[in-house]
Symmetry: C2
Subunit: 518 residues, 2 copies
């Protein structure tokens, strides 16, 4: 409905992606379906015609699949643990807050960020419904009790008791389904008696979707748009959809995978296949849904086949069970979602980051604040941006370890260069060299044993600094790679006389011509 499509399209969009994902997906918890962000993105195209939604699914599926085939999964390495944790926290806050409305039967819209959801809730708080609130709170308390209940196996494990304990395990696992069932029965009984105290899910406009290839032409008003016209409507901006598809789904996959690696490339292939194939059955663009994934997780799903199970349930919902689903009280669903959310907020990370890495805590906080205040996707972008800035800052200001020592009566200093010396440190390294070489040092040694890469600009600036300081100092460039020596020689022919190799530097220092007295 956010996308401006008939509500059943949202259900159709949960069926086929679920089936396809169970075949290609690699994350057990992920549940694919239409999401608020993607729906909002597709809405402006649907304003022309519904056909755009199905074509968008097909095209963005193709692009995501292409990303997967090109093995671009490595891009996801740039979404760090603090960003994922911040995203999770912000998403849980937002989703939890947006359910307050249904939980208390308050009217009005919920808002698409945590802050807006809270504001809207308190703005409409006078419309609170006692019955819904009561059932909602009872649902939450029941779920909490069932979640923390222990299995009653005493010392006298009689056959009957063991069997009861086994049953109890299943009851605990199925607690989400159980409260839905109990809530629906209650609503049904009261309904039969002529009383509807709760807001119910209501009629699902069902039936099976129409099958067929995605529309490559459409009619808008009295004008027929061919495929090229439709592409022009999407424009370059249309590329945002596949990017959001990947970003949302993989952020969720990483969030629920914990410290286990997520195969980004495989996820891209799965997501692409889901979007391409599902649009043959009237599906809009789909991606990982945080709420549904969290509920899946809370229900204890253990393999991607859970997606298939979910798809079957939705299929039942739109065909045979429309009447049964009618009676599910909205407040019960809200209660389930809120309980699922409480278990996934990652506040524990905050204290660990506080003790060990304040900068990463800043990344986490920025992601949470922007995510909860402006929007989840902006939260991820800001967090990832700060991470990139952090990486660039490290590249620009590498720590140069230095050590003073004496050989004979010469004061020497050794500066250790490490790893990759990129263009960004091409002012910093020569500046450090100039500072450390100071007045009292006769010989400065640059130790490049651990240098892997060295940019042109760094070499150029090092050369000009060394040539400049050589009136009062001697320089030795120790254990440079052959390729780096060549670079120095190429920039300044004759420079390579300063390069020395070998395990000990002392002999080379002793062999130096002394600096003429001033």
């Amino acid at each position: 409905m956010i996308a401006g499509l008939p509500p059943q399209i949202g259900l159709y969009s949960s069926i086929f992606p679920g089936i396809v994902y169970s075949l290609f997906g690699s994350c057990k918890d992920i549940t694919l379906g239409p999401t608020a962000i993607l729906s909002a993105l597709v809405a402006k195209y649907v304003a022309y015609s519904d056909d755009f939604a199905y074509l968008a699914s097909f095209l963005s599926g193709c692009i995501v699949l292409l990303f997967g085939i090109l093995q671009l999964g490595f891009i996801l390495d740039f979404i760090s643990k603090p960003v994922i944790a911040g995203f999770t926290t912000a998403a849980a806050l937002q989703i939890g807050a947006s359910q307050l409305r249904s939980l208390f039967g308050v009217s009005g819209s919920s808002g698409n960020t945590f802050v807006k959801a809270i504001i809207n809730f308190f703005r409409n708080i006078t419309t609170i419904q006692l019955n819904d609130s009561l059932l909602g709170v009872v649902t939450i308390i029941s779920l909490m009790l069932l979640k923390h209940a222990t299995i009653p196996v005493g010392p006298d494990s009689s056959s009957c008791r063991v069997r009861f304990a086994k049953l109890w395990v299943y009851v605990l696992r199925a607690r989400n389904a159980l409260v839905v069932f109990v809530g629906s029965i209650l609503a049904y009984i009261l309904y039969v008696q002529g009383w509807t105290p709760f807001a119910l899910t209501g009629k699902i406009n069902g039936g099976l979707p129409h099958f067929g290839p995605p529309p490559f032409s459409t009619v808008v008003g009295n004008r027929t748009l061919n495929f090229t016209d439709m592409l022009a409507v999407f424009g370059a901006e249309g590329l945002v959809m596949p990017l959001v598809t990947i970003l949302e789904s993989v952020a969720i996959a990483k969030a629920f995978a914990g410290s286990k690696p997520v195969d980004g490339t495989q996820e891209m292939i799965a997501l692409g296949a889901c979007n391409i194939l599902s649009c043959f059955g009237q599906s809009m663009p789909t991606t990982g849904s945080f709420t549904r994934t969290a509920i899946n997780h809370a229900c204890g799903v253990t393999t991607p086949a859970g997606s298939l199970f979910k798809a079957c349930l939705v299929l039942l919902a739109v065909t045979l069970l429309t009447d049964a689903f009618f009676f599910i009280p909205k407040t019960v669903l809200a209660g389930i979602i809120i309980v699922a959310m409480t278990s996934i907020t990652e506040f524990g990370l905050v204290t660990k980051l506080w003790r060990n890495s304040k900068l990463e805590l800043a990344v986490y906080s920025l992601t949470v604040l922007v995510g909860a205040g402006v929007g989840l996707e902006y939260g991820i972008l800001c967090g990832a941006g700060l991470d990139v800035a952090r990486t660039l800052a490290h590249a620009a200001r590498p720590d140069l370890h230095h050590q003073l020592f004496k050989v004979g009566n010469q004061d020497c200093i050794i500066l250790t260069l490490l790893g990759t010396l990129t263009y960004a440190c091409c002012e910093h390294v020569p500046r450090q060299l100039r500072r450390r070489a100071g007045e009292h040092v006769h010989v400065a040694v640059l130790d490049a044993r651990h240098v892997q890469r060295l940019d042109y600009g760094v070499a150029e600036n090092l050369i000009s600094t060394i040539l400049d300081l050589e009136q009062n100092h001697r320089f030795l460039l120790w254990n440079f790679k052959e390729s780096h020596k060549q670079l120095f020689e190429d920039i300044h022919p004759g420079f390579s006389g300063r390069f020395v190799n070998g395990p000990s530097i002392d002999q080379h220092i002793l062999g130096l011509e002394p600096i003429p007295m001033r």
Copy 2:
């Protein structure tokens, strides 16, 4: 005129920034003034009222000054040598091509990129003027001859000859002024005889500018806009102007500084002061101008006081010498600019980069291609973007040096971690550890002597990988910093038993419990 302002504003905008820059500036060659890019940016505000141009100068000056005061000069470290060289080459190509029109007296506009200038030139080639072409080519040949002329000091250095040689040095240095002078005299003589064979510079609408504070309110149509309204007109997009101001000026400063460092912070302060103070004398936003800086450089300027000299000349041009400047043939100016451009293209870098660093050559090429085809500022952005991508790729895929060795009958491997291990390598490092630890290795040692920083995600993934592999391997974490040990212990209490210190690892390996037989 690009900005939609009266032409004399362009001249006024060259006077005061020149004076102020001579006081605050740190780069000898830089010439400040209105540029094509800034003019195009300011044009849409001038469409409301000229007052916006002066206020834009004031406000963007304030922002640039603030950048300087906040010591944000380090941002400019992220514009690498290949980007600067690529920008220089693209700028020289574009400016040279845009002068072809004046050189050959061809009509039509010149276009704001190299590609467009060339296309426009050939589109209007039929309107070529013989006289202009002739004078232009003669100008270029004269300048080339003067530039490469040697000073005729023979073995018989008589006093007269020495004096002549000294004069000759000044003639060679003043060659640009000389050809302008000769060209103007020629045009004047022909003009007096009633013949105007060349396109001339023409009348400069002069007089002194009006002095006064920048306008904090203005009238558009019959509506008075106060300061807040004017700010609203600029909007967030107005922030592009100070950024372009900094980017253009510092790119030029770096290009002409060679391998000497450029003090970005001081340049920001100078640029800010120039824009703030000049707007009191009817000046639009100004920044470093590539063409004029290159001519300054070609004229052999040696201190920032050259700016003052230039400001005085422009002041003379708009007051006393309007008649003299009338006769300068445009083709002579075009010839001077083209010769100045030939001396600053940096094609020599290409071969050096080809031999030593193909990736940096890609950065250079991208900057040139985008700069010449789309626009100079886009060239810088694309080049800088590719540089950032390069840095991130290095951060994500650090080389891990490994070495196999034997202690007793145990096969061991040592993996050396280097520098900064950021979030981006948090999948890569554990993957490498898993691969290297392979089947035949009993003990894997992680050497962290040279690790400076280590992100949370890397530690977390290392721990889960080690715990996973520990059934078949023993792990030793060697020479980790105390802070890193604490991080590991914080994530997984009890993990710190694997940390060892000291110069030799062999004793620690011998002290390990053997792995139980399977």
